[in-house]
């Protein structure tokens, strides 16, 4: 893409994990049997009226505060009018002028450099129902012969986060998406599960010659439902648009659809006329006013955000990558915090947690909280390694046994006889015996070859059952062979 610059903006839809829907008392239960969580309001039966869920309003204010937005003192619900079968009222209650939150920013880390993405607005709306396309070739809308509608999801509170066009690459977009996911999860307002659709992205992409001020024509790509898809869809769209422009074509302003299987974006429809949503203030709903006291109360209740937590973990001794990995996993974070709080080395605990502990969990399919590992175990283990009581490989064996539930690190090391032997007499006698058994190797070393030295170290370690300090073995062997 040399000579071209991409300009990217992202709209993120986040389903809030409230107990009840946005405007009615139906349970948020999208997994239940079809249409089992529906009432006159979310089915848009004649006569039904919406009443907003206070908890959802708190949720969006939390998101707005986390993104350093201004929380408007007064905000309004609007109707976005368009006909679609999964939208029961054939309008979506959303916001237009005066959304709940405006004008924030988010710092993200991309390959070690920090950049800022401007947040235009964060507004409250409601989700649509779910369509299942039947017939034709495999669930796609275009060759289906009919569609079934389930309105369990209709009316689930949805927060839309809109960025400024500040993003310049697919990697930045992905990093932004990941950070938003961390934030809403940390706030406890959403389960933020991309695979379950509780977070979805629409990406707006345009390209322009480097140095141009004027924006190119943009496309909006929908159905981008994973962080990997954000990256791939944007890469594809940038390439496609550059190609169009370089071959003398024009980019058309349109909505496109990301196809995960084929890895391409396709035009959703060529509209004969642009959408006209006929936004107007919803007369069924009152203005939403947030008092300074209410905003302050919510602010005080905010949990620590991922960025602050990462900074704290780095202060505790981890590197940035490890801190990121820890913060992204609440189980690891908790173990890390508790171990460090009890005096363990942050650097060492971070390495063990993101290395062997994660590997064990993946290998055995056991979630970390289901293992027997505790923060005191981690403190004890790293302490023993630091003091030279355990070799790194012995410590790994101890950790696995601890996670399997065989006891504390001390008990396990004792039982398995894994403590390092610091008694130089025992090592010396093992060295003597190995030297006697391998005269050829000794001769080679004496004639100047260094390679057999490693072999001899290995032999001594084997005789010692791995419990000797390899540094001590190495130095004794050198001394005795004159290497």
């Amino acid at each position: 893409m040399s000579g071209w610059e991409a300009v990217i903006g992202i709209e993120t839809h986040v389903e809030l994990s409230t107990h009840s829907k946005m405007f009615c008392s139906c349970a948020v239960d999208v997994a239940g049997p079809p249409n089992s969580a529906c009432c006159p309001v979310c089915l848009a039966l004649p006569g039904a009226l919406p009443v907003p869920n206070e908890k959802a309003i708190e949720g969006i204010i939390k998101i707005g505060l986390a993104l350093e937005c201004t929380i408007n003192e007064s905000s309004l619900f609007y109707r976005k009018n368009y006909f679609y079968p999964d939208l029961p009222k054939n309008y979506q209650i959303s916001q237009y002028t005066f959304p709940v939150c405006e004008g924030g920013k988010l710092d993200i880390d991309v390959d070690g450099t920090t950049m800022t993405v401007g947040i235009t607005r964060v507004h409250m709306e409601e989700d649509t129902g779910k369509s299942t396309h039947i017939g034709g070739g495999g669930g796609r809308i275009h060759d289906a012969d009919h569609t079934l509608l389930d309105f369990n999801r209709a009316g689930v509170p949805l927060v839309e986060i809109v960025t400024e066009p500040d993003i310049r690459s697919a990697a930045e977009a992905r990093a932004y998406g990941a950070e938003i996911q961390r934030i809403v999860f940390a706030l406890g307002v959403s389960d933020a599960k991309l695979e379950a659709g509780s977070m979805r992205f629409d990406v707006n992409v345009s390209v322009r010659p480097v140095g141009d001020e004027v924006l190119g024509t943009r496309t909006e790509t929908k159905n981008v439902n994973s962080l990997r898809a954000v990256q791939r869809a944007i890469e594809y769209e940038i390439d496609r648009q550059i190609n169009v422009l370089e071959t003398g074509g024009k980019v058309i302003q349109e909505t496109r659809h990301w196809n995960e299987d084929t890895g391409v974006t396709i035009s959703m429809r060529i509209k004969e006329e642009s959408e006209d949503y006929r936004y107007f203030q919803d007369p069924d709903l009152l203005p939403l006013e947030t008092s300074a006291e209410w905003r302050e109360e919510i602010r005080r209740g905010l949990p620590e955000l991922p960025a602050a937590r990462r900074a704290r973990f780095i202060d505790a001794g981890t590197d940035a990558v490890t801190a990121g990995l820890l913060v992204d996993d609440s189980d690891l974070s908790t173990l890390f915090e508790d171990a460090v709080a009890s005096g363990a080395s942050g650097r060492a605990v971070g390495i063990w947690l993101t290395g062997e502990v994660v590997a064990y969990s993946r290998r055995t399919g056991t979630p970390i909280p289901d293992t027997s590992l505790t923060a005191p175990h981690l403190g004890e283990l790293t302490g023993m390694v630091d003091e030279g009581k355990l070799s790194f490989s012995a410590a790994k064996e101890v950790l696995i046994a601890v996670m399997d539930g065989e006891g504390t690190p001390g008990d396990v090391a004792e039982a398995k006889d894994l403590f390092q032997v610091s008694d130089s007499g025992a090592i010396e006698s093992a060295v003597e015996s190995v030297l006697a058994e391998n005269p050829d190797a000794v001769n080679k070393i004496r004639s100047g070859e260094t390679k057999p030295l490693g072999f001899l170290v290995g032999q001594v370690m084997r005789q010692m059952g791995g419990r000797a300090d390899p540094k001590v073995v190495h130095s004794l062997l050198r001394k005795r062979t004159g290497a």
């Binding site: 409230t18 107990h19 009840s20 405007f23 008392s25 139906c26 349970a27 948020v28 049997p33 079809p34 249409n35 089992s36 969580a37 529906c38 009432c39 006159p40 089915l43 039966l45 009443v51 907003p52 869920n53 206070e54 908890k55 959802a56 309003i57 007064s74 006909f83 079968p85 054939n90 369509s131 299942t132 396309h133 809308i141 275009h142 289906a144 012969d145 009919h146 569609t147 079934l148 509608l149 389930d150 309105f151 959703m268 429809r269 006329e273 006209d276 006929r278 203030q281 007369p283 709903l285 009152l286 203005p287 939403l288 006013e289």
Partner: protein
């Protein structure tokens, strides 16, 4: 009662330009050409009349969306029982496997 006596303060109004077919598409109404013509003409009449609202100076006047100055009606986040699906599915034109069925969607 004749027109001049019923129409209080009618002012001469500009003819209104309406793309009635587009309006009907937006409103999802499948109207015939004759119907479009009829409604188009009637809308023109009504809108010429409605244009009178533009004669009133409203600089600095705030719009009224709500008759009463109330704010903040909320509901507690408590999930209550939903409707028995049979109670509304029985009223739907086409249902299959507990879901509402519609024909092919253009998208």
């Amino acid at each position: 009662m004749d027109e001049s006596s019923t129409r209080v303060g009618t002012i001469a109004a500009m003819p209104v330009d309406i793309d009635i077919a587009k309006v009907a598409r937006l409103a999802r109404l499948a109207l015939s050409d004759e119907e479009l013509e009829m409604y188009g003409a009637q809308l023109g009449d009504i809108l010429e009349h409605a244009e009178r609202v533009q004669a009133l100076p409203t600089e600095g006047v705030a719009p009224t969306s709500h008759p009463l100055p109330m704010v903040n009606a909320f509901r507690e986040d408590v999930a209550r029982e939903s409707l028995e699906p049979a109670s509304f599915l029985s009223e739907a034109p086409d249902v299959k496997d507990g879901q509402f069925r519609v024909p092919r969607i253009l998208g």
